[in-house]
Symmetry: C3
Subunit: 217 residues, 3 copies
């Protein structure tokens, strides 16, 4: 049962992150190949980094084509004229869909990362489990933003990494007492809820004003 | 015999990709160190990523200095006044040489990637072989473009990743029936031919117009 | 004794690189989260890449929280109003502190990289030892600059990679005759001294003028 849950979660995360990557590609005016490749990199990036960190080679994504194919299909769907024109017309709709897709991907991949680390060794510390969860959660989005030439979300979206970290810690801590299913759902829900709340209530943090010298380099 | 072939191919790819990296460095006005380092990263980047993905540690490039030394020598040659001034004067010549070097590097490293994956395990699926081939082929160029602050070729050059994918699939499929030598040459030739045709005939693909909101972030 | 030395060195490098990352974050006007994450990535990036290259999974940083916690604490300290305003006010002070922190981090992580490679196998060639040292030394800074959207130091700061390479070679060559402690201190001191001399005396190298076509892409 638990395996099915993780498979379904990973599919949901793959679709959500592929859509977010494809949407960034749309905004940058890429052609259908570019959009598909950016969607693919976003969807599988976090998992590949996770597997390299855990020593799982070749990474799971390379072994089973289903994730890559779903990511490509999702990206092409985002590129379809009907979807695209709707997203392009209303930049408000674009922002909302982007926020949702990115939050779901972040939540799902964070807990999938924790689960992967557990499956390699159950003696890993909470710290390692949470670290791997965060890397898996944010990895795809960082790759998307670096490849597209944007400042990564992890630096500019309030609470982005923090939401992932809290979810990863919750999931890791609840794993033994509550069981893997409850811990996973709890962790993923926490990430999505925190991220949406942060966006909705515009949680703000102290910020340094860019220094006059900031643009010199 | 087959080993000699792969060694020669890897040298050709190393020289071609080092030249492409060095030329990007020239265009960016880097000094001789910067040019050499960018040439080196471009030439060995794909192979390092491939080895990490396949679990070959330390990567082959780190074990045998010949590839790194050749990449550095090539980069310095591109920096020589005679070569440099000719490349700088005619931006048309620059474009043609860059296209050729990059295409040869892409073709060669794609099939070298497939061969590396085969050498680790002959039971890998066609999907995995092709995936590793593409990663090896495009990895160096992506690293070059990200480090130089450009949008990676894989998103903007028509058919770039597609050419690599078709060559990787051809090579993987022909490996058993035709033997490794024929499969390798066929795959590499297909990549170079497709890439040059795409550039010459300006194969176009549906493209989303950059949305007005695209520059906001 | 030698183990204590490496632990202390790694702490010094972590603090120095975390400070350099946090300062770049300050300059870019990031909030406290962004600054902490950039400091963390800069401080642990080189070590993570080193461990992946050497096949040490999960990377040491993931196993022992002390480095990550120190990096985050350092970044938050840089963000404190007292420190921040002083750094922001005088861009000359900023430049000097940044140069010092970055040089110390480069020197320390270069020799720590050589030591890590030695600890995996004492039969590695000088070439491999030096290569791993350089990757470890420059890795964190490259990650910092790519994530922050800057041109990596390795391409634009005179002598940056070269200083690391000379230090790594010195350390590798002196390891057997002088012992690990002397070799390490010698290598790290050489990197810092070379880097500071290069900055102070403005050592210059032949440079290609950016071609007129350089801005086209």
């Amino acid at each position: 049962m638990s395996e099915t849950l993780f498979f379904v979660l990973e599919l949901i995360g793959t679709i959500a992150f592929a859509a977010s990557g494809a949407m960034v590609g749309l905004k940058k005016g890429m052609d259908i190949f570019g959009v598909a490749i950016l969607g693919l990199c976003t969807a599988v990036g976090g998992g590949v980094i996770r597997d390299l960190v855990l020593g799982i080679t070749p990474p799971v994504t390379f072994q089973d084509p289903v994730y890559a194919l779903i990511a490509i299909a999702t990206s092409i769907a985002v590129f379809l004229p009907a979807v695209r024109s709707r997203l392009e017309r209303g930049s408000r709709l674009y922002d909302v869909v982007m926020l949702l897709m990115d939050s779901i991907g972040l939540g799902v991949f964070t807990v999938v990362g924790v689960q992967s680390a557990y499956s390699v060794s159950s003696s890993y510390s909470i710290f390692l489990l949470a670290f791997v969860g965060v890397i898996t959660g944010v990895g795809g989005g960082v790759l998307r933003d670096v490849l597209a030439g944007d400042t990564p979300y992890i630096f500019v979206k309030h609470f982005y990494t923090c939401a992932s970290l809290i979810g990863a810690l919750l999931c890791s801590l609840a794993w033994m007492p509550l069981g893997s299913t409850a811990a996973t759902l709890l962790g993923a829900a926490a990430v999505v809820a925190l991220r949406l709340c942060a966006a909705y209530f515009r949680w703000n943090l102290p910020k340094a004003s860019p220094s006059p010298g900031g643009a010199r380099r």
